[in-house]
Symmetry: C2
Subunit: 519 residues, 2 copies
Amino acid sequence: MGSTERSSAEGILFTDQYQLTMAQLYFRTGMHERPAQFDHFFRDYPNYGLHQSGYCINAGLDWLLEWMGQARFGEAEIEYLRWQTGGAGQRLFDDDFLAWLRDNGTFDGISLKAVPEGRVVHANVPLTIVQGPLAMAQILETALLNHLNYQTLIATKASRIREAGRGRMVLEFGLRRGPERGANAGTRAALIGGADFSSNVGVSRMLGLPPKGTHAHSMVQVFIALEASELDAFRAYADVFPDDCLLLVDTVDTLGSGIPNAIRVFEELRQKGHRPVGIRLDSGDLAYLSIRAARMLDQAGFPEVSIVLSNQIDELTLWQIITQIEVEAPQYGVEPDKLIRRLVYGVGTRLISSAGDSALDGVYKLVAVFDQGRWLPAIKISETPEKTPNPGHKRVWRLYDRRGRAIADLLGLEDEDPRELDPLVTHHPTQFGAERSFRHDEISQIEPLLMEVFREGRRVSEPPSLDDMRALRASDLDRLYPGVRRLMKPHVYHVSLTKKLWDYKQELIAAVKRKNSST
Amino acid sequence: MGSTERSSAEGILFTDQYQLTMAQLYFRTGMHERPAQFDHFFRDYPNYGLHQSGYCINAGLDWLLEWMGQARFGEAEIEYLRWQTGGAGQRLFDDDFLAWLRDNGTFDGISLKAVPEGRVVHANVPLTIVQGPLAMAQILETALLNHLNYQTLIATKASRIREAGRGRMVLEFGLRRGPERGANAGTRAALIGGADFSSNVGVSRMLGLPPKGTHAHSMVQVFIALEASELDAFRAYADVFPDDCLLLVDTVDTLGSGIPNAIRVFEELRQKGHRPVGIRLDSGDLAYLSIRAARMLDQAGFPEVSIVLSNQIDELTLWQIITQIEVEAPQYGVEPDKLIRRLVYGVGTRLISSAGDSALDGVYKLVAVFDQGRWLPAIKISETPEKTPNPGHKRVWRLYDRRGRAIADLLGLEDEDPRELDPLVTHHPTQFGAERSFRHDEISQIEPLLMEVFREGRRVSEPPSLDDMRALRASDLDRLYPGVRRLMKPHVYHVSLTKKLWDYKQELIAAVKRKNSST
């Protein structure tokens, strides 16, 4: 493997073969530069088996735009397509198409509207709307879905973990079990969705955060193998990092050796004027051990040092740990709330791999094609009504009730403005007759969700900072009803159509059915 | 985000912060260049909930070695470490350590033995043994686990899917739902483990395979939106790719429109002397539709064209599809075996994300440290006996019975040769008294599993070809008992210790316990 080939595999060739064969067909039939519109959305919230999410946190857009700005067909990529042969040994891609691709094979003609990263988003709502010449908009599909599906999946998991941990600090530790280089995107998404810091050094650097981490079991083992002790290892660590001393206490025996040794070293640090940071528990019954640890640390006069928990943590584990602490801590004279406030969660494998549901089903569907001065809607009728995408150019708004809580995402047509409708009638996307009607004074805000982010190959604005994205997340979560946020069997958030879009969709479905039955 | 930062995040900073803080501690205590040995192994086979694997397919090594050859601390990386501050605002990493790191921060001192990619591997067997200076061997941990865990996970899933599909052709289609750039590693692993081809253009190029794929629903939708028809779309496709015509038949109505239109186009192709390739079914009851499609294609005189199935396929779905075909096909006058032989499986999301178990729990454990001319064993005693790693320098052999089937992987000490032992006694790794004894004539082969692959920073041999790795996989699977290969509740393969290693481990555990109780 050459690294040139690798970087090319991460560039414009980071796509599926059928995008290229379709592009040649569009070229051959003269449709390749015809404007087209694709909607990106996901169909279902992650379902982790025992539990399911009621919302997602949008993520991945900035790295997608970065990729789009750089990916293009160069000589090496064209050469590879020229090399490909078909079933009869003939060339698969012709010179005229390849010449067009070499001159036009960039995303310079593409424009995007999108929901900003960090926002709460819902199933079947267009999150990204792509407009541009058909061939290149088609080729974009694979990379767009790849970038957005995975980061949204991980940001959502991180948000759930943060919620289950009652907002205590979450550290992302997943790189060792993450999906190769994709783990960097996972770390970024986790930091948008709910993690405060990460152990991942390179991504922390990219995002301007200090990476977190102190030591592993192996450090203690080295000392023991060389006939020194756990205490010697802890002392050495405290010596080198006196103001950042967080000790892993379960290498030998958590209660019998680890915590007492840590306390001894903390006392020595205190005498020298330093403030110890905490301990980490990485095995055993984390709830029970954290209670015992809190008690020992309190008694030694270290009520403020953190207790970091790690080892296969996810949202359900955290929920269980906190519930157990509430029941069990008082039996040891430890105040549950005080203990919970000193907890920090180190979350690795189950976050970076979205354990329980390891892929988001985001799709990219053609919804309109331009012809003779107007946009023609494209529709694909599925046997499952829920899978028939909403056709045409659309706008998306979020409706808030008088308490300021989000009650629905509303899809309408390009020329509509729900602020002008009173009462505002919202339709269930597939069930006939299932509609709700709101008077204007029942709605406190009607907020457009999609922003223009990319205009003909260029970003419209600077990438948002991590703080911006986190602020959006926090404010959106605050405005969700708790039923939608809960870990299990969440209340289903409403995604609705305006009356005009509903009617338009039904007319199109009827027209397609008439056409099919007449041929 | 600059692309420099991104490439640095994929270089030496693709690591966890605690590797760097430990490295500084080793430096400060003078242990940083002391030779150390780490074993990499996984603890459990993937468990997908309803089903579990009885083996894994090893993968990821070549891309790890590639990474190791390139990753190093340059000025930018050192600068970032210099910038980091600790809890009291002081610098976290000191100049003398950073100077050492700048001059020595490569993997030039590291050597690896490893099981070749493509081989069947088992839980708790060292798959990679790393030797080198403590600090850099420690820093390697994160990237090593990251590269090997994910690819082995995906290669294993691919192998299971291939087995469930009775060895029919498997196409990997997962890029759109894969974990960002990590999806490229997933594609590679799938191709080693069981997929024949992939839709991923860049990785197919790297591996010298033709990428596969023809068209999506969107192509048919474009024609329909422009007031043409599915038949027009198929004809256009056949025109552009007359010798590679594989048509997706479920955009409008599979049985009523898609298959009849495909047959019409196939007839036109045949008249012009071309050979149509096949159809693809992407929704609905894939077993039933494949039977109906086979019947229609047979009747039209196309008994040889392929039927590609796609849509959320994994090993259980395939098992169900094949079972259903065996029951249902005869009811439509279709011979099940003949139908199964023309099937091709397009497998995406559930392969690239290892649905059901999305991470492999590979670990990297210190097992020995060099001191005064000899290797001292390192041991970490876990409260769970299975989690206490086997200490010291080890060798690994695979034992085959007289039928040529693999019956156990055997771990022994460096100076042992099981070929010299008769009878050969193998111990259960944790249960006292659980042992088996083999006479030499019961064993047909004793095969060493680990090969030297990297010596002091350099590859020992050329990277294996994809064909080499696939041949190893096929031959290893042939030599597994079917009980170990089955999809659900597989027979547990034996991983055993020699008597000498068993005794050595027990002595060390006893010594550590004595030492702990005396302090």
